[in-house]
Amino acid sequence: MTGRTPLGRVGGKALHVFVLAFFTIALAFPFFWMVIASFKQNGDLYTVENNPFLFNLPPTLDHLRFLFGQTRFVRWLGNTALVGAIVVAITLLLSVPAAYALTRLTGRWGQRLGIGIFLTYLIPPTLLFIPLSRVVAILGLQDSIFALVLVYPSMTIPFSIWLLMGFFKSIPRELEDAAMVDGLTRFGAFIRMVVPISISGILTVVIFSFTLVTQEFVYALTFISPESNQMIGVGIPIFLVRGDVYYWGALMAACLIASLPIAILYNSFLDRFIAGFTVGSVK
């Protein structure tokens, strides 16, 4: 739009750059800091007088060596990946048919039930973890990653159903009608027609469920005590420590290694999540 003097326009642009720079630095700084700490020698890291922004001693791979060689880091990665994979499978198996049924096969009250399911997403782990800890103990799953495999889908399924309902709603009914006219049953049409078309929505559910598993803290902390059975979300902040002293170098490296892939994955599917959050809220 016109209407600004050249000075006004330059000033506006400068403000724009300043705002962006300020927030980008403020938000991304901790990760930049993780990078630096990961490669700084301990002598450098723990010397208060040194300028923390510079490598006063040459960078080192010691922390990485320590992390991979002498901690359970790799084990935690494995645990997380395993739990993630199984939870994703369970989530897909249960939420895809459910979302379809609630969209297509149930009419009015199906929509209501969908909203009700979504609302359970609002019940936080910090409310349920205490009774669940008992349930887990009773089932003999205490300290096992399978406790998490059991409980996590209760968090992933509600939101996934909500996401997929929005997605299925946008697929025209005629597609399935045509398939049924051609001889498929309703379920057959679902498997052969709807699911293949919905791949991007399903992928979104996969990413979302997996990142939720990696992000989770409360249940993992509550149900699992032994170090070797822990997930990365809990293992890193809790176990990379001797007594009261943190292994900051290795800790930061671990955070970085664990965060970045997840961040990249999540980022690529972000727009779909937003659609899930805002479905129906915006005209």
């Binding site: 249960l94 096969l105 910090t126 409310l127 059991l150 902040p237 980022n267 972000l270 129906g280 809220s281």
Partner: protein, 295 residues
Amino acid sequence: MTAVGRQRWLGPAMFLPSVLYIAVLIGVPFVLAILYAFSDARIGTTGIHLVGLENFRSILHSPSFHKAIRNSIVFTLSAQVIVIVCSNILSVALEKPFRGRGFIRFLILLPWVAPVSLGTIGWKWILDSIYSVFSWVLITAHMVKPYAAPMWLGEPHLAMASVVLVHCWRLIPFSTVIMLAGRSAIPKEIPEAAAIDGAGFWRTFFQIRIPIMAPILSVAVLFGIIFTFTDMTVVYILTAGGPFDSTQTLPSLAFATGIQGSDLAAGAAISLFLVPVLVAVAYLMLRVAHRAEVV
């Protein structure tokens, strides 16, 4: 239509597993939480007895509990206010395309997409009482004496500010992205019409954009409240509730009491105080969704 009618069992068959799963793993524990709150359940014992309002009486007398409630409310509200202001500013800055916007967006999103605990522990290093980079900057700028740097996580007020800071840091990306979606949903011609009608930047912002974005704003705010109010991870990792319970919140106190202190019943009772807020938020969300659908 008859073919579908004959398969009336298909629909329920497809969604019942999910509904059952949720009922068993959310519904049942929820009921149990209420039950425990009125019992004497502890870690290590198997039986439980009902004890009436005993747990509530004792926690209501506990100073930690009062601090926790106060903190939960204060942290949530202050974080939310800061987040709303910042995400509005940031979403305006990110709205128009520019070179490198995708990369900037990735960087800005990092606090939200990285696991909570890992981002928090990163902050713990930044706020360390001896090695904090903030301290180093202040000392080098001669604003504080060497070795006399602030105890970011050790002094009660600073610790509270730190917790709020980390929550804001996590939430701003989330809010900004939702705000961007809201802004882009405003038909382009409406702010243009406002400009022609004579409205300047601020009038357009407050009288036109915000009201139109109201439903989506509400969604962002409500989720933000939930995320902050029910979170225990940030507090647990950053300060473990200290110093002297000054950063304790309802969820973190529930954890400390119930799991670390083995008093499941008291822990459950504390966590039940989350419910009123959750119900209020759920109700408001339904209102927003309902109004949006009618529109």
